[in-house]
Symmetry: C2
Subunit: 351 residues, 2 copies
């Protein structure tokens, strides 16, 4: 399992410097002061490099919303009961959740997959079955999963990307009651920040809930002693199945030369795992937004990513990624569709 994962990671290509350079040159010829579309210009150049196309294409857009349950939820770390995980999966399948609405706005399809929900979905109305187990074990008592399961969850994410026929850009998303808890644990391990610094209120716990959450994470780290130099060890000891799956989506996206738009805090934890395991994914990453969750800032800093949006979101599901994909598509359209100074007969800057 782990060997298969290493083999896939070794196949990640390098983005095309030529395509990126050609895109940068074209940006300079478009009818606007150079650099005046700021972040849009840089995004278009990054995407051109990733896709290896001077004129990037953003037609086929997929947001993957991966669900999993968490043994640690029993420690009172969430404002919602654990049965909300499968309930929200049904909401995704019915098209009524935030991610469905925002993905429709972005023209993106939503792929919903069960990476480890503690519920047996009846057919035929069910998520894609990538279940590793019926939820993780309680990480305050020992590892959340085995190392084998950790590798399996990542491979499951890669396979989800593999099965997409057409894919120009992808967004990551999550659902799992309790999952800001493992995400904060992972953030603490990789950034070296204290648990209190990186732990927020998630879906909205009160002060008591927040204290319980910090205590649970501190206990989990003390009990498990995850090794930050070994990403699979971190994922196994204090991670989650959907977080491993998200790490897989990122690796899968890089393998497909697709820009990977990372949603918020939980997706960011997946990105920490992916980028520790496979540093070659880094040029493929685009941070969708700055989450309200306090640890997210340190997480993005650690990854060297500057978020596109700051809309005070903290929903997850891929909602921020859907919005950011709209911006990426706009960035690509500028590069592809704007007239050049020569085409439009517009005078250039006076020297």
């Amino acid at each position: 399992m782990e060997e298969r994962l290493r083999t896939r990671i070794a196949q990640i290509p390098t983005p095309s410097a030529e395509a990126a350079q050609a895109a940068a040159l074209r940006q300079e010829q478009l009818t606007k002061p150079q650099g005046s579309l700021g972040r849009l210009e840089r995004l278009s150049i990054q995407i051109a490099g990733i896709q290896g196309r001077e004129r990037p294409r953003i037609e086929h857009k997929t947001i993957f919303t991966l669900a999993g349950d968490h043994g640690v939820a029993r420690q009172g770390v969430s404002a919602y009961p654990a049965e909300v995980t499968p309930q929200m999966v049904f909401n995704f399948l019915a098209g009524g959740a935030g991610i469905n609405v925002l993905a429709r706005q972005a023209g993106a399809r939503v792929v919903v997959a069960d990476l480890g929900v503690n519920y047996d979905f009846p057919g035929p109305n069910r998520p894609l079955d990538k279940k590793v187990a019926m939820g993780t074990a309680d990480m305050t008592q020992g590892p959340a999963m085995t190392r084998e399961e950790a590798a399996k969850s990542i491979l499951a994410g890669i396979e989800l990307v593999d099965r997409e026929k057409d894919l120009d850009i992808l967004g990551t998303g999550d659902m799992g009651i309790g999952n800001t808890t493992p995400s904060a644990a992972i953030t603490a391990v990789f950034t070296g920040r204290s648990v209190a610094e990186v732990t927020g209120r998630g879906t909205g716990v009160d002060d008591l809930g927040l204290a319980a959450k910090v205590a649970a994470i501190e206990k989990a780290l003390a009990v498990n002693r995850p090794d930050p130099r070994d990403a699979l060890d971190v994922l196994a000891k204090v991670g989650g199945f959907e977080i491993g799956g998200i790490a897989g989506l990122i690796i899968g996206g890089a393998l497909r030369r697709a820009p990977v738009v990372i949603d918020g805090f939980i997706s960011g934890a997946g990105a920490l795992i992916a980028s520790a395991l496979a540093p070659s994914v880094r040029p493929y990453l685009i941070a969708a937004h700055q989450s309200v969750e306090v640890g997210h800032r340190y997480l993005l800093e650690h990854l060297g990513l500057n978020p596109i949006l700051n809309l005070e979101l903290r929903l997850g599901e891929g909602t921020g990624a859907a919005l950011a994909i709209m911006i990426c598509q706009a960035a690509a359209a500028v590069l592809n569709e704007m007239a050049t100074f020569a085409e439009a007969g517009v005078s250039e800057k006076e020297e």
Copy 2:
């Protein structure tokens, strides 16, 4: 002229507190932790109040790109020659400019109007004719325009909104070589900041150009002594025709109960004029983005507006407004389309 303007301003309605409250209540019932869609939730509630609809509608979107020339451009305040103003107007009409590309992304139509370009547009391929004069006079030598012309430019903007058959939301935009100079002057007058603090590089002047720009604005303020308690006086002495037109778009939008998405620095200067002249427009304003132009921050502060995006834009034309309209539309879609807890059978927060 001024009397007609005062009559229109007196007709501006108050947004509906009932519709806003109904929207806020509905947000609480949607399948997400309360407040977890942050800015999107607040935007949807603001738009509901503005439109007076519990379920806001964002189908008919128009971005108005208003063009004008500036006598002060002769003082070497811009990196581009003045003939670029009409050249870019032709680019807008041909669909090749940044605003055309981004408006297409937003599904918005672009209305291009000549408020005071120093060029006679030949028919039939021309902008809407709202020309007040062939560019402003050089404000370093005296008033940029007469008080009558200032009122006329604002009324022209209102009339542009009046003639839109269907309009659910509007964006403002500008084109005018040299127009960050009057915008900085207006910002200095209303915010009380020094000229040096609010003056940036516009389309990209070098250090010498920036010094010339600051000197020109200081001279214009000394020569004209605009009165910040009299917005028409400020517009006449150190403004521009497209800036007056934008103030008119804002008043016109408020009259139509349409949210007004203000683009960047030049549009912001128009908003300073509009909101000084007609404080009742304030609840209708949505700031699209934080511009790179240094004075924009103080301008937004003065208006009490928090920009939706920060993408390091400094192009104008309405490009930031087009992107922000996409976010507004997403915000409205969340309110209109998400399932409630009851509809989706999802458990609510544990108390």
